[in-house]
């Protein structure tokens, strides 16, 4: 038998239910793997909490009252508030902040029986595409020496890829679940805006932020999403719609489905491996019975620029709360303004400061119309492009997830160049749509590449069988043994 940590969530769930393995031994196997790992994927490991939760799961499993995720050990991005467990958002400014409440998404997971292994590393306040902006140091990608895992959910993606947890939560504001999933050969879902509650998640850009799973297989991601999603009266943007059984939707096939290929998702220059991968994806779906339809999303090229106005603007407002008064770091100054300024200067890293300043500038008197209002209008045009494509009976759009494979730590020192990583994922957030990244192949240098499927609002279940066809055709990709 292979190692316990090699079991997928679906496999572990079945073995736990059949009493072939115990939750405590599964949890212990992961804690041992985390201990031995040098990826810096976790900021905080919670062995005591994990043991307690696993023991409670074993009691339930023995009694035959196991729930959907009973005994499944998960890692949680350190942006989700966890009661009694330090939550850092990857920043120094939160200090030893220990929430006195639990985020809705994580509470849903514990209510389904999942086990908390610890809190996963991330870019500071989820602002980054490489996990290099974390105040707790960069995360290493298990796929190679000195490679970034992508970001901002870099710890989540690296931990899932390296089998340090059975699955993980992430958040995605402009690609922060899908891009790291692509760079580590894992599956990542950014659900429709409103599908998962944002309550208790440290806010970055509230009109874009959405929680979702990162897992090893499409099936595991489907299992996790079903438990994460819910109506939550504490988040006024959470939607009152039934949560489908995503797992049951997996095996529907793609016969007769219409898959749109947006011609604007072609970067210049287009790396040959990425081009070939995209064509391969088209061929796989065509061979499985889908109809391929060329579509146009003419405002795609403006999505990133509009995003880098809207997201920093919202961030500058959301991050105003870190003032050294209610929680986190305080650095004294001459007076209260001096205290605010000293605290925020010491507590925020460079990328966060850049974005707060850009956001403050574009919202400031005299510039609001020229920048923020214009960006929000462009955002309407981006959303309209998608609506028009879907009106033509398109079931999903197929695109690459990221413009290239994992790069070296320190390899993209220019902020704007770093932002280009999210060129294919940002439009989806701007329009509030669901997207999934599926591992689809390897680059010339043997590093993972992903394909992205984009769906209609709240039709994550419709994406599942399409993602499954790509996954089955592409096969699974394991990082080289370290």
């Amino acid at each position: 038998m292979s190692a316990l940590t090699d079991l997928t969530i679906a496999e572990a769930r079945d073995k736990l239910a059949a009493k072939e393995i115990r939750a405590t031994e599964l949890t212990e196997a992961y804690l041992t793997a985390i201990e031995a790992s040098d990826l810096n994927a976790f900021i905080t490991v919670t062995p005591e909490r994990a043991h307690e939760m696993a023991e409670a799961s074993d009691t339930r499993l023995a009694a035959g009252t196991g729930r959907a995720l009973e005994g499944i050990p998960l890692g949680i991005k350190d942006l989700f508030c966890t009661e009694g467990v330090r939550t850092t958002a990857g920043s120094k400014i939160l200090g030893n902040f220990t929430p006195t409440y639990e985020s809705t998404v994580t509470q849903n997971l514990w209510d389904a029986g999942a086990v908390l292994l610890g809190k996963l590393n991330l870019d500071e306040f989820a602002m980054g595409s490489s996990n290099e902006t974390s105040a707790f140091g960069p995360v290493l990608n298990p796929w190679g020496e000195n490679l970034v895992p992508g970001g901002s959910s870099g710890g989540s993606a690296a931990a899932v890829a390296a089998h340090l947890c059975a699955g993980a939560t992430g958040t995605d504001t402009g690609g922060s679940i899908r891009q790291p999933a692509a760079l580590t050969a894992t599956v990542g879902i950014k659900p429709t805006y409103g599908r998962c509650s944002r309550w208790g998640i440290v806010a970055f850009a509230s009109s874009l932020d959405q929680a979702g799973p990162i897992a090893r297989t499409v099936k595991d991601a489907a299992i996790l999403l079903r438990e994460m999603a819910s109506l939550d009266l504490k988040d006024s943007t959470s939607v009152d719609r039934p949560v489908p059984d995503y797992e049951a939707a997996l095996e529907g096939g793609v016969k007769g489905k219409r898959i749109g290929i947006p011609k604007e998702y072609r970067v210049d220059p287009m790396p040959p491996a990425l081009d070939a991968l995209w064509q391969q994806g088209i061929d796989w779906l065509k061979d499985a019975g889908a109809e391929i339809v060329p579509v146009s999303l003419p405002h795609t090229k403006y999505a990133l620029a509009a995003y880098y106005i809207v997201a920093p603007a919202e961030a500058s407002s959301n991050l105003a709360r870190y003032d050294g008064v209610r929680y986190g770091l305080r650095v004294e100054g001459d007076d209260i303004i001096g205290m605010y300024e000293a605290t925020r200067a010491a507590g925020f890293g460079d990328e966060v400061k850049r974005r707060i300043l850009i956001g403050t500038y574009v919202l400031s008197a005299g510039y609001y119309d020229a920048y923020y209002l214009r960006a929000q209008k462009v955002r309407s045009l981006i959303a309209r492009d998608f609506n028009r494509a879907f009106e033509k009976d398109i079931d999903a759009l197929l695109t690459p997830t990221a413009p290239g494979p994992a790069f070296s730590i320190g390899g993209k020192p220019d902020p704007v160049e770093m932002y280009l990583n999210d060129v294919f994922t940002v439009p989806v957030n701007m329009a509030g749509l669901p997207g999934i990244s599926v591992p689809a192949g390897l680059s010339e240098t043997g590093l993972p590449l992903g394909l992205q499927l984009i769906g209609r609002p709240f039709e994550e279940d419709g994406l599942m069988p399409i993602a499954r066809v790509i996954e089955e055709a592409a096969g699974h990709f394991q990082p080289p043994a370290r």
Partner: protein
């Protein structure tokens, strides 16, 4: 549009972030690079386009106007850098 050093300082003060002299110069370059990048939005014809105000078409729910939470001053203050007698403590603001 580009920002001068004085604007960087003014915006930093609005954002309540202290920046040193060298840092302000570096931030000026970085902000101008980002503002240069977003300049392309001026090419887009947005005449008659309404700004997007919600990611998903949905009207906000209303709820009954009643207290659903509260009465936990200890929990509210638990993470405060300085607290006393049920209050957050800040530097003196009124002489």
């Amino acid at each position: 549009m580009s920002v001068d050093l004085e604007t960087v300082r003014r915006v930093a003060h609005l954002a309540r972030i202290k920046v040193g002299d060298d840092e302000a110069v570096r931030l000026q370059d970085e902000l101008n690079a980002i503002l240069g990048f977003v300049e392309q939005l001026n090419e887009v014809d947005v005449d008659g386009v309404a700004p997007m105000t919600a990611a998903v078409d949905a009207s906000l729910r209303r709820r009954v106007d009643e207290v659903t939470d509260g009465g936990n001053p200890e929990r509210v203050l638990a993470n405060a850098p300085a607290a006393d007698d049920g209050f957050f403590v800040v530097p003196k603001v009124v002489e």
